[in-house]
C-alpha cells in the first residue's frame, strides 16, 4: 500500500478526489495494521463516578458485573478546523522529476482535506496565496466542501512570487477560530521574515505546521558543467559553476533549512521538511499527531 503514497505514482492520477482517497485509505489501512500505533478515537479510559457526573456516561454493564459505578470516557469527539495555506508562487512549479513541488503540494493538501473531512469530520479550508491571497475557501464541513477544495487546488496554478507579509493579514482574519493551519511552501525567503509573518497565526490558538516542500535537486543540485540558471519568479539569469553548487550552495541551503526549523520551533510551530520524491505519509502522520493532541 505504500506505493500509493509515492509521489511518482500519484503524479499519474489525474483526479484529486481519487488521489486523496487512495492516499488516505492506504494510509489509514496501514495504521490499522500496525499494532504499535496505539491511537484510537473511540475509547479513552474509565473513571470512577463522582457526584454530578452525567449518568449517560456510566457504563452500566460494568456496574452490573461489579456493582461499581464507572464512567466511560471518549476521546476527541469535538471537531477541529483545518486550514491549508498553499503557496502558489512560480518557484513552486520547479520540478526535476515527474512531479513539481506544486503537484506535490496539491497531493499533500488533497490528502489532508480528504483525511480531515472524510475521516475526521473536521472542517477544512484553503487559502492559495503568492504575493497576495488568490483564492480562499472558507473552512466548512458541508457536503460538497471536499469537491470545492479540490477545485480550488486545481485552480491553484503557480503565479507571481512569494510574499508572506502581504497576505498575512488576510490569514489572521480568516483564521479566527482555533484549529490547525498548515502552510505548504518552499519558503524561499529569509527565515526570520517567514516566521515573523506566520507566527501571529498562533495567537488565536491555532496549531501551525510548516510543510517545507523542496525538490531533491534543490537540496543537492547535480551540475556536471557550468550553466546559466534562471529564477522562476524573477526571471533573473545567473551563470553558476558546478564547484559552487557542490560547496557553498549546500552550506547555504542547509543553513537556511536549519534556521527555518529552529525559528519555527522556537515560535511554537511545527516544521516538517518534505522532499518531493518522498512519500506523503510523513506529512499525514504529522497532521494526525497534532490532531490527536486535541486540536
Amino acid at each position: 500500500m505504500q506505493r500509493f503514497l509515492d509521489p511518482e505514482v500519484l503524479a499519474s492520477i489525474s483526479s484529486l478526489d481519487l488521489l486523496a482517497k487512495t492516499v488516505v485509505d492506504g494510509f489509514v489501512a496501514g495504521l490499522h495494521r500496525s499494532p504499535d500505533f496505539g491511537f484510537s478515537q473511540e475509547f479513552a479510559e474509565y473513571r470512577a463516578y463522582t457526584p454530578g457526573d452525567d449518568l449517560r456516561h456510566v457504563d452500566w454493564n460494568l456496574f452490573a458485573r461489579t456493582e461499581r459505578c464507572y464512567l466511560k470516557r471518549y476521546r476527541g469527539e469535538n471537531n477541529s478546523q483545518l486550514t491549508v495555506l498553499l503557496d502558489a508562487s512560480n518557484s513552486m512549479q520547479y520540478a526535476s522529476g515527474s512531479s513539481s513541488k506544486m503537484d506535490y503540494a496539491r497531493f499533500l493538501a488533497a490528502a489532508m482535506f480528504y483525511l480531515a473531512i472524510h475521516n475526521q469530520r473536521d472542517a477544512a479550508g484553503l487559502i492559495v496565496f503568492d504575493d497576495e491571497v488568490r483564492d480562499y475557501i472558507r473552512p466548512s464541513v458541508r457536503p460538497g466542501q471536499l469537491a470545492r477544495l479540490f477545485a480550488g487546488l486545481e485552480r491553484a496554478e503557480p503565479h507571481a512570487r512569494t510574499d508572506f507579509a502581504k497576505p498575512l493579514s488576510h490569514f489572521q482574519n480568516a483564521l479566527h477560530r482555533r484549529g490547525i493551519a498548515i502552510v505548504i511552501s518552499d519558503f524561499y525567503d529569509k527565515p526570520e521574515t517567514i516566521v515573523n509573518n506566520i507566527a501571529p497565526l498562533r495567537f488565536r490558538g491555532n496549531e501551525v505546521i510548516l510543510f517545507h516542500v523542496l525538490d531533491r535537486q534543490e537540496m543537492r543540485p547535480a551540475m556536471k558543467g557550468s550553466a546559466v540558471l534562471v529564477d522562476l519568479e524573477t526571471n533573473l539569469k545567473l551563470e553558476v559553476i558546478p564547484e559552487y553548487t557542490r560547496t557553498s550552495y549546500l552550506n547555504k541551503i542547509d543553513a537556511h533549512i536549519e534556521d527555518l526549523r529552529s525559528r519555527a520551533l522556537g515560535a511554537g510551530m511545527d516544521y516538517q521538511l518534505l522532499v518531493t520524491d518522498q512519500p506523503l505519509d510523513r506529512a499525514l502522520r504529522e497532521y494526525l499527531t497534532l490532531r490527536q493532541a486535541g486540536n
Binding site: 524561499y188 546559466v228 529564477d231 559553476i241
Partner: protein
C-alpha cells in the same frame, strides 16, 4: 611527402561543417530554471573559460577527424631512405663471361655495378655474384660497403660461358634462404646464347625483382671466329695425310660475306695460311695438311688474321702430340684367335688411334711387363700365370688400364683376374634359342661416346649377344646393359687405374659385335680412353674438367698432380695437388698437366664459341624477363637508382589509426557536452 590521390583533398571543404556547427551553435545554450537564485552566486568567468576550452577541444577534434579522413583518402606517402628496409637485399650479378671482353663491355658493366652499389643505403644488405662459366658467390649478404666494393672490384673478365638458366636456378635456391625481397641487378651484355631453350629456367621467384643493365656497345658489329678445329691429338706420322691434317671451320655472326685469312700456327710459328670465302653470317671450312710437327707436345692454333669486333675469339688453340705408336698388349686364351684379329683390325681402322697390337696367349705372359704398354686387353683370358696376374694388378693400381672380355671360357672359371670379382652366372642364350640385344647404352661413357646416337641406339641395337656372363656390378659403373638387364660393359676404378669389363667376348662366337661398324668406334674410343691419350693433348672448352687421378686418395709421393695454367702459375695448391680428383679448366690457353699416374699432358683450352655470338637478347625478351615496360635505358637507370635510394611509404594506415583515436576522443568529449545539455534541459 606527397599524395597518391591528391584529388581527394577536395574533401577538405567538409571542414566547413564543424566550423559552421561550432560558430553558429556554440552560444545557443538552454538556461536552466531554478526555484530561486537566493542561494546562488555568479561564477561567470571560470565557467565561460571552462566551457570555451571544452568546446574548442571538441571543435578541434572534429576538425582533426575530418582532416585525417580526407588525408587518408588522399593517401599520403613519404620518401624514406632504404636504410631501414629490413630484409631487403641487393643482389648484384656481374657477367664476366668471355663475351664481356668485347669492347668496353666489362668496364661499363663494372662501373654501373659500382654506381648501383654506391647508391645502396647503409643498412641494406648486398651480395656480389660473378656470372661466368660458374656462378661465383663472392660475398655473403653483408652491409659492409667497402667489402662489397672490394669484391666487385676483384671481378675480372673470364673465359667462361654465362648461362642465365644457371643464374635463375641459383637465385631460386638463394631466395629460399632469404626471407625478404631481393633486388637482382644483372649487369651483362645480354647475349641471346646465354638464354636457355626453356624460358621457365630463368623465371625468378616472386620475392625477386630483376633489373637488367644491358651493356651492349654496338650489337651490329660483325664478328668472325674459328668455330671448331679438328686435329689429331696423337700424331705418330706427320706424313700420313689421312691423319696429319687440320680441319677448321670459320663462322661469322652478323657478318657480311668476306674473304678471311686463316693461319695455322704451331709453337708460335705460322706454318700455313689460307684464304677462305666466308658467306654472310655463314660458315666456311679450311684444311691444313700435312701437319708437320715435331716430337712431343706441339701448341697449335688456327687464327684469323684480320681483327674484328671481338679479337679475343679469333684463335682456336689445340695441342698435337707427336709420338711413336703405342703398343697394346692383347692377351687371349689359348684357343682363341679370332678376338685378336677382330680387335686388331678395328684398332687399325680407328681414325685417330696410333696403336700397335701385340697379341700373345695367356700362357706366354709370365715375363711380360704390362707397364710398357698403353693398355692391356684380356680376351677370355681368365686363367693367367700368377706372376703376370700379380704384375697386372700392380699395373692397374699404379694407373694402368685393362679391358677384359669374358668369352665362353669364363663360364668354367669363376674368378676374373684384376677385376676382383667372380662370374656369378653365365647366360647362354643360344641354348635357349634366343638372342639378347643391347638394350641400354650410356653414351656419356668415354668408351661408348657418341654425339648423336640415333634411333637404333647408336648401332648397338643391332648387336646380337649369344653369351654373357653375370658379374657383381657393385662399385662399378654399368655403361651398357642387355635387354634382359644383364650388365654388358662395366667400368671399375682400381687404384689409379681402370678396368673395363665386357661380359661377352671380343670374338664373333659369343656375339656379333665385331661384325658391326660400331665395334670400330667402340675399340677406338676404348683405346683412347684406356691409353689416356685423349686427355693428354687436344683441346677442351673452358670450364671443362680434367681428371687428375682416379681416386681422391693420395697413394704416395708419386701421386702428386701438377697443373700449370696459361699464365705459368700453379692454380692448384700443394694439398689440392695431393687430393684433388678433378681440375676445372677455368681460363683459355694452354694448360700443362702432370697426372697422378705420372703422365704429362698439354691441353689447349678454348672458350665456348657460343660466347662469340654477340647478338643481344631481343628487347621484348628482356622486358618479359625483367618485367619492365619502361622505354629508355637512362630512364630505367635513373628510376632504379632513385628507387634504391628512397622508397615511398604510404601513410594512410597510420592516418586512419590516428583518425580512429580522434573518433574515440571526440566521442568522449561530445558525450560529456551532451550530458551537460541534458542536465540543463
Amino acid at each position: 611527402m606527397g599524395f597518391l590521390a591528391p584529388w581527394f583533398l577536395a574533401g577538405l571543404a567538409a571542414l566547413g561543417v564543424p566550423v559552421f556547427v561550432h560558430l553558429l551553435r556554440r552560444h545557443v545554450t538552454t538556461p536552466r530554471p531554478v526555484s530561486s537564485l537566493m542561494f546562488y552566486e555568479r561564477g561567470t568567468q571560470s565557467s565561460t573559460r571552462h566551457r570555451r576550452l571544452k568546446y574548442l577541444l571538441l571543435f578541434a577534434l572534429r576538425t582533426a577527424l575530418l582532416l585525417l579522413l580526407v588525408l587518408a583518402f588522399a593517401d599520403p606517402f613519404v620518401r624514406r631512405s632504404n636504410a631501414d628496409a629490413n630484409g631487403h637485399m641487393l643482389l648484384i650479378v656481374l657477367d664476366n663471361s668471355f663475351s664481356m671482353r668485347a669492347g668496353t663491355r666489362f668496364a661499363d658493366a663494372k662501373r654501373q655495378a659500382l654506381s648501383v652499389l654506391a647508391a645502396k643505403s647503409n643498412g641494406e644488405k648486398a651480395q656480389i655474384i660473378a656470372l661466368g662459366g660458374q656462378l661465383e658467390v663472392l660475398t655473403q649478404p653483408i652491409t659492409d660497403e667497402a667489402q662489397l666494393r672490394s669484391a666487385l672490384a676483384s671481378v675480372q673478365p673470364g673465359d667462361g660461358y654465362a648461362s642465365f638458366g644457371e643464374l635463375g636456378r641459383a637465385v631460386r635456391s638463394l631466395a629460399e634462404t632469404v626471407r625478404g625481397p631481393i633486388d637482382l641487378h644483372l649487369f651483362s651484355d645480354m647475349q641471346h646464347t646465354a638464354m636457355p631453350a626453356n624460358f621457365a629456367d630463368v623465371i625468378l621467384p616472386g620475392n625477386t625483382k630483376l633489373v637488367l643493365h644491358a651493356v651492349v656497345d654496338d650489337p651490329t658489329q660483325p664478328n668472325w671466329t674459328v668455330e671448331s678445329v679438328e686435329a689429331p691429338t696423337e700424331l705418330p706420322d706427320p706424313k700420313d695425310l689421312r691423319h696429319s691434317r687440320v680441319h677448321a671451320v670459320v663462322v661469322g655472326f652478323g657478318t657480311p660475306a668476306a674473304v678471311k685469312s686463316v693461319s695455322l700456327i704451331v709453337n708460335g710459328k705460322t706454318i700455313a695460311s689460307r684464304k677462305v670465302n666466308v658467306p654472310a653470317s655463314g660458315r666456311a671450312a679450311v684444311d691444313f695438311a700435312p701437319l708437320d710437327v715435331g716430337y712431343g707436345f706441339n701448341r697449335c692454333a688456327v687464327r684469323l688474321e684480320e681483327d674484328d669486333a671481338f679479337t679475343a675469339d679469333n684463335a682456336n688453340i689445340f695441342v698435337v702430340r707427336r709420338s711413336d705408336p703405342e703398343r697394346v698388349l692383347f692377351v687371349h686364351a689359348a684357343g682363341d684367335t679370332r678376338s685378336a684379329t677382330y680387335f686388331g683390325a678395328a684398332l687399325r681402322a680407328a681414325a685417330q688411334g696410333s696403336f700397335v697390337l701385340q697379341s700373345i696367349s695367356a700362357e706366354q705372359t709370365a715375363d711380360v711387363d704390362p707397364s710398357r704398354f698403353a693398355f692391356v686387353v684380356l680376351s677370355d683370358a681368365v686363367i693367367l700365370p700368377p706372376i703376370f696376374e700379380h704384375t697386372l694388378a700392380q699395373y692397374v693400381v699404379k694407373g694402368g688400364n685393362v679391358l677384359i672380355g669374358l668369352g665362353p671360357g669364363a663360364a668354367r672359371h669363376t674368378s676374373i683376374p684384376v677385376w676382383g670379382g667372380e662370374v656369378q652366372d653365365a647366360h647362354n642364350y643360344m641354348r635357349l634359342n634366343s638372342v639378347q640385344r643391347v638394350g641400354q647404352v650410356d653414351f656419356s661413357h668415354p668408351a661408348l661416346e657418341q654425339a648423336q646416337p640415333g634411333h637404333n641406339n647408336g648401332g648397338w641395337a643391332d648387336v646380337k649377344v649369344f653369351y654373357a656372363a653375370v658379374v657383381d656390378s657393385a662399385q662399378a659403373r654399368v655403361a651398357a646393359r642387355l635387354s634382359d638387364g644383364t650388365a654388358l660393359l662395366l667400368d671399375k676404378t682400381i687404384g689409379e687405374g681402370r678396368v673395363l669389363l665386357l661380359t661377352s667376348g671380343l670374338e664373333n662366337l659369343s656375339n656379333d659385335l665385331p661384325l658391326h661398324p660400331v665395334f670400330v668406334a667402340f675399340v677406338d674410343h676404348t683405346a683412347r680412353y684406356l691409353s689416356g691419350s685423349a686427355r693428354l693433348s687436344g683441346s677442351r672448352l673452358v670450364d671443362s674438367f680434367v681428371e687428375l687421378r682416379s681416386t681422391g686418395k693420395a697413394t704416395g709421393a708419386a701421386a702428386n698432380a701438377e697443373v700449370i695454367g696459361p699464365d705459368g702459375q700453379r692454380p692448384v695448391s700443394l694439398s689440392e695437388a695431393r687430393t684433388a680428383q678433378t681440375f676445372r679448366l677455368a681460363r683459355a690457353g694452354f694448360y700443362q698437366i702432370r697426372f697422378a699416374n705420372g703422365r704429362d699432358a698439354v691441353i689447349g683450352v678454348n672458350p665456348d664459341r657460343r660466347e662469340s655470338d654477340l647478338e643481344p637478347l631481343p628487347k621484348d625478351v628482356q622486358q618479359l624477363w625483367g618485367g619492365s615496360s619502361s622505354s629508355g635505358e637512362s630512364q630505367v637507370q635513373n628510376t632504379v637508382l632513385d628507387e634504391m635510394k628512397n622508397r615511398s611509404v604510404s601513410l594512410w594506415w597510420y592516418v586512419m589509426l590516428l583518425a580512429l583515436v580522434v573518433v574515440f576522443a571526440e566521442t568522449a568529449v561530445a558525450s560529456g557536452h551532451m550530458g551537460t545539455q541534458r542536465e540543463e534541459a
